[in-house]
Symmetry: C3
Subunit: 343 residues, 3 copies
């Protein structure tokens, strides 16, 4: 790593330098661990005191702060930080391997130029893979899958037959795309499997976390919209439609046929029931259980999920519930005595 001058970094992110613009920055680090030749950043107010004591050579900030370090002042410090991490460290490099002889590739499959397909990866009949994709060991691409350019499929991820993957999609290890939806017709006490002939569509720039499961549906498609980032271990049900640019953090569960608008943010372990409609730009707090439609722009929390500020007040009151019960009983007794006295 050769490093860049602080001035160059500032130009790269459209920011300004306060301090020695000529100094060489070689790496990005955290406020408490950064040392000479390293740059760090402040985006969470909680860590502001650390800016004074940091040993970093430079700090990315939104506004000037008191510190011995040089400052890179940027409008959106976290975004500037991201750009600088990309510039100085880069994204993961994938070994140039071409199409390994140790992979299993159907004769009827087609791959674009510059793909890496590693040992023990499987590409099934009639699959269409775009340019510059990396298919890691043990990854399984089912028959008739379509995939765009510049995708990464990490080890042992599985894409069932017929699914459609856009460009620049990243699928982490052991995620499963397009397994059969949970669809059974119960008749006389037995559950009969319904063929699941829908497919899963991951649009451009989607990222799917490790060990996610995204079901196909009986007839409809399950869709994850453009630019949506799905954390680890998220379960998405048959026929659900997730809009563009959503953030679904780990362990979220979305039931079948639910729809989410664009730019929704779902906290950890949130559950959404089936056949409901969540609007655009909705924020749902961690562990919430959502059972009803949610309008655009709402912020909800709790089980059942209601307006978040209401739930916060409930959370603040709930420990007083036993005492409240006692108070009511005492009130009833005192009131009965007064009533008696008044007779």
């Amino acid at each position: 790593m050769q490093g860049k001058r602080l001035k160059e970094l500032a130009e790269h992110v459209g920011g300004k330098v306060r301090g020695k613009g000529q100094m060489i920055i070689k790496a990005v680090s955290t406020l408490d661990k950064a040392g000479a030749g390293e740059i760090t950043f402040l985006s969470n107010k909680k860590y502001e005191p650390l800016v004074k004591t940091t040993k970093a050579s430079a700090v990315i900030v939104a506004k000037p702060v008191e510190t011995d370090a040089a400052l890179l002042i940027a409008e959106d410090p976290y975004y500037a930080f991201m750009q600088i991490v990309v510039l100085l460290h880069g994204h993961r490099k994938h070994k140039k391997a071409g199409i390994s002889k140790g992979a299993s590739i159907a004769k009827t499959a087609k791959l674009g130029a510059n793909c890496n397909v590693y040992d023990f990866a499987v590409i099934s009949d009639n699959a269409r893979i775009g340019k510059s994709c990396c298919i890691y060991p043990g990854a399984f691409i089912g028959s008739d899958v379509k995939m765009g350019d510049n995708c990464i499929v990490y080890p042992n991820a599985v894409i069932y037959d017929g699914c459609e993957i856009g460009s620049r999609v990243i699928i982490h290890a052991n995620a499963v795309i397009g397994e059969d939806g949970y669809g059974f017709a119960t008749h006389k006490g037995e559950h009969h499997k319904i063929p699941q002939i829908g497919k899963v569509i991951l649009e451009n720039d989607v990222e799917i976390g490790a060990c996610c499961t995204i079901e196909r549906a009986t007839l409809d498609d399950t869709v994850i919209g453009m630019g949506t980032k799905v954390g680890d271990m998220v379960a998405i049900g048959h026929g659900a439609r997730i809009g563009a640019h959503c953030l679904l953090v780990p362990q979220v569960g979305i039931s079948g046929s639910a729809t989410l608008g664009h730019h929704c943010v779902l906290g950890g372990q949130v559950g959404v029931v089936g056949h409901i409609k969540i609007g655009n730009m909705v924020t749902i707090g961690a562990q919430s259980g959502v059972g009803h439609d949610i309008p655009d722009g709402a912020t909800v929390l709790g089980t059942p999920a209601i307006e978040a500020n209401k739930t916060k007040r409930v959370y603040a009151s709930i420990q007083h519930l036993p005492a409240m019960r006692k108070s009511i009983r005492q009130l009833e007794k005192r009131l009965a005595e007064l009533e008696k006295a008044d007779e």
Copy 2:
């Protein structure tokens, strides 16, 4: 796809036609997407208005409804729908591959006739696989595993040594069957691993979702009963016993040594603690936490899970909790004044 006459479909499902029985139906689709030559169905009241506007040639219904489409009247429309999807579209076809040379099969393993074992699948020592099974790439069958006929093990699913799998069992991608139970003896602050010598038994017609984990136990067996369907990402603890024909939807967790009767239905993200007994035909609402035995036929909800109607009333009241607290304080003040006046 050649299609069938509507009359033939009606005969196939034991239903009646209202309209042109001779028309050819080629595919099944949804109420809003179906077009000419397609059949759709109504089983959820919520979608009844769509029957009027559907462009489908025919609709499967329980009772006559007003629509331009022909009707296929069946007692159980969803079951009829399932039968017709199977008839017109069929279940997933598996490539005839026989035993691939690219698979790793122990000399001591035995396989029945007509199996497909694909590249990079592993079948370990002394495993016994029945007839007509499909073992997908990357699937791992441990030593001494017994498996019946007509099973499907999807890519990268893992069955640990000694487990017993019935016939017509489906195990989806990346599911794990028979990993070590979470069993440790804590002594002087260290957790010592207890060998897990029990096994997992999946009875006939069980389906296991993607990324499920079903633990073996120290001494007992973990059992999933006949016909039970387990959704994606369900965790089942060591020595749990799930009865026949249960539905466990995604992200359910069952702790060790819990038992469930037959025909139980567990909603998404339900948690069941260990060593308790859930009766037969119990329904547990989504996200519930079950800490005590539940009698046969009960419908429970909430954390802790109690009778569902009670919890629904709690859910309806809970947002008023802060206001209730305020009311109690005001009542106390007003009452104190009255009491004072009465002295």
Copy 3:
């Protein structure tokens, strides 16, 4: 299995025999299933009645109990039981396979003596694997991974590049270690991926359950402390630090940058938000949602998690909430009448 004399077992665990010390014990079983030649144990009071009726030849107990079986009296019966299961049954045996020709091992990788690397396992560039490790089929060891001695990596588990694994670490099937943290910089409505250059460190004697996901972080390391046992399907976020000797049971979720002390116990489906500090020896009840720092030694429960006894009282009261609301309204009415009368 040859078996051991009861006397020998007692000596092995530092216990005493009451009854025939010369009898041969061949296996360990449960109280209700054990028969002649078998030993069982009592550690859960709930099962005490079964000791009278057990057909086991011997029972491990803390204190003498009335039974026809011989007794092995040990201070910590569950620990003695563990020692005897290890002695009589042993841990899983791994097939001696050496380095399979069917594995894919980079030329620049180095392995210690006595490793088993099975078919379709992948060991990438510059990986360093210690002595006596078992790498099961389909397991993926990324480039620059360091691993100590006597580790077991079960089928299809994935370790991303650069992670550090101690000695005697067990990683169950389909677990993922070191996938990219959920780190995005959102700018003008789009989420930009931040390179995740931190690594995951699993210290000595850690066990990771099936289908776990342990994220790497942008800059920091994610650390699982010595001797900590992680159940199935646990999601651990980027930069989290879990102390030594913790127990995290299945489906727990720990968000990024949270820290846990040593000897913490987290129940099933617990969620911990990011950037908080959980002390040492903290116990968190199942399904709790932890949103704030927790001091050493606390036992908490509920969402939001507070002192467990308080939450238990809340749980006992909550079903009365609708009735309480009604009572308050009645009180208000009665009080208003009294106030009127008093005017």
